[in-house]
Subunit: 321 residues, 2 copies
């Protein structure tokens, strides 16, 4: 086990010129969010479409002000692979892929929040889906967002060969063995136990990092990534995905519900397996920083084109919510 010497302020990450980087990052995040939101609005049936209740429930959770991190990572991976540098030049209609990823992320949140699972009343600052629409409709809205995601993926504007690879990658990343559902299962079962570091790493890699990795890899595949490029994106995703979840655990301890827009301290009260519980806050953050530094090395061969993805990775460990 590692010591607890590092702290947030002594981060070893390269910081660069903050003004330039911060505004570039801001632009990337804002452009990505706007594109994703427009695609989601186009791709999810309107609230007036019958049966209206299910579409209202789906939209309630999808349009609750998420950061759209997975779509942004996906789109930036696509831009990097396609060799485009500027913010305006994303691969055509890649936002539909981003929207499908966000639908899958949202479906998992709706189901995780159910009384039978995490029983959470607040998500992204709003009442959770089941609090507003009841458990039955929340279960079906989650199901429907998963279904809708695959309908969108099957119709993406890239070659059919790339589409089936993307679908396979995403299904595996959200599946039971090393994917999102597997992570949620082990997380539930680890409650009220003293988790080992190994179990904790499995939970975080499967529950969170796997979909983040699938987002990056699918963005690359959309833009025609070669096998070695896919593997670099995969390694990058595995590291930043784990770092992201470690920071999420830390924020649950250090921030208030108001700051987070969801119930803070849930992990502690549920005796959840978390990094701060096992390693303490400082050491957890040091691990997150180290993972991001390692992730950067994976993108060396992309040169300057990787700059935005690196900025995004840095943002993931330095965010406040």
């Amino acid at each position: 086990m590692l010591g607890k010497k590092s702290s947030r302020t002594s981060s070893a990450l390269p910081t660069g010129n903050c003004y330039t980087h911060c505004s570039m990052l801001q632009e990337t995040l804002e452009q990505g969010r706007a594109l994703t939101d427009a695609a989601l609005d186009r791709l999810i049936p309107k609230e007036t479409q019958e049966p209206a209740s299910i579409h209202k429930a789906m939209r309630h959770s999808v349009f609750a002000g998420g950061k759209r991190l997975r779509p942004v990572l996906c789109m930036e991976a696509g831009r990097m692979v396609a060799g485009k540098k500027t913010a305006g030049s994303l691969p055509k209609k890649i936002e539909d892929l981003g929207a499908a990823l966000e639908m899958l992320h949202t479906y998992s949140l709706i189901h995780d929040d159910l009384p039978a699972l995490d029983n959470d009343d607040l998500r992204r600052g709003r009442p959770t889906c089941h609090k507003v629409f009841g458990d039955a409709l929340a279960i079906l809205a989650g199901d429907a967002l998963q279904t809708q995601a695959y309908e969108v993926l099957a119709q993406l504007e890239c070659p059919a060969e790339a589409r089936v690879k993307i679908i396979e990658e995403i299904a595996r990343g959200t599946g039971t063995v090393d994917g999102m559902i597997g992570g949620q299962v082990v997380d539930l079962e680890a409650e009220h136990t003293q988790p080992t570091a190994e179990m904790l790493e499995y939970i975080h890699r499967a529950k969170t990092a796997a979909l983040i990795t699938a987002s990056l890899v699918s963005g690359g595949l959309y833009a025609g990534a070669k096998k070695n490029e896919v593997e670099k994106l995969r390694a990058f995703g595995r590291s930043i995905g784990l770092a992201f979840q470690i920071v999420d655990d830390v924020l649950d301890v250090t921030q208030t519900s108001e700051q987070l827009g969801k119930t803070a301290g849930k992990d502690t009260s549920a005796q959840k397996a978390t990094y701060p519980a096992l390693f303490g806050i400082d050491e957890s953050l040091r691990k997150a920083d180290a993972l991001v530094s390692a992730a950067f090395a994976e993108l060396d061969s992309f040169g300057d084109r990787a700059e935005t993805l690196k900025e995004l990775a840095r943002y993931l460990v330095e965010r406040k919510k």
Copy 2:
């Protein structure tokens, strides 16, 4: 509205030589079930695969003795389009497509049986998934079967162009607008109301007929069906799917729980929208017969090759459970 003159015994369906047809049908059903079961066993992670609990929950519901009607219809549609007549000559590995359809059907059953929805304790003669594994794992097992289905579909042994068409077809057939989830939503909302014939037809077409139609169409697409062949399969599916659900409603009234392997009389006690409630038993069966007769006409251009699908359609309205 039609009169109530018809009865079960005066069915207008062609019956043919019963001995030959019955044994051919039996062989088709048994071969289809065996192939589907073997594919499901190969494609769903083993019970020993970690996290073991979710794989046990998935397998509990998948291997509960279902008739595998959707896979059988899918495989027969594939055989018909491929121009093969004998029971041994299915398109190669089409059973993987059948298995994916059965995973989707089973996911919907697991979620429908939850306390928040139909609250059913018995399914295919066994305790339902949530009764054995708890609500949390049942929700996740349903989710996981949907996810696994798309992973399998993305890897089918047919051209990528056909795979994405199949995925789109199946996602739409299980979606919210005219698909399975939409039907379930309206069904839940129609409880304790006096349904109109129009609403009832929507529920049955969306909740049941849409996945049966997607099974037939996807089987055809797997075998390389042309556009006009796809449309004939779609029309056939819409009719026999509705007939199937009408007969299901009737069996809920006329059979015991023991005969059905699930709780009988549920529809009546839940004041569900059903055909017998609206039209009576005899008239409901007459409608089912008429739908099957109409469905037969859709397959005329396939000649002799359609014989087995017609036998299956006849079986759907004459079954006892």
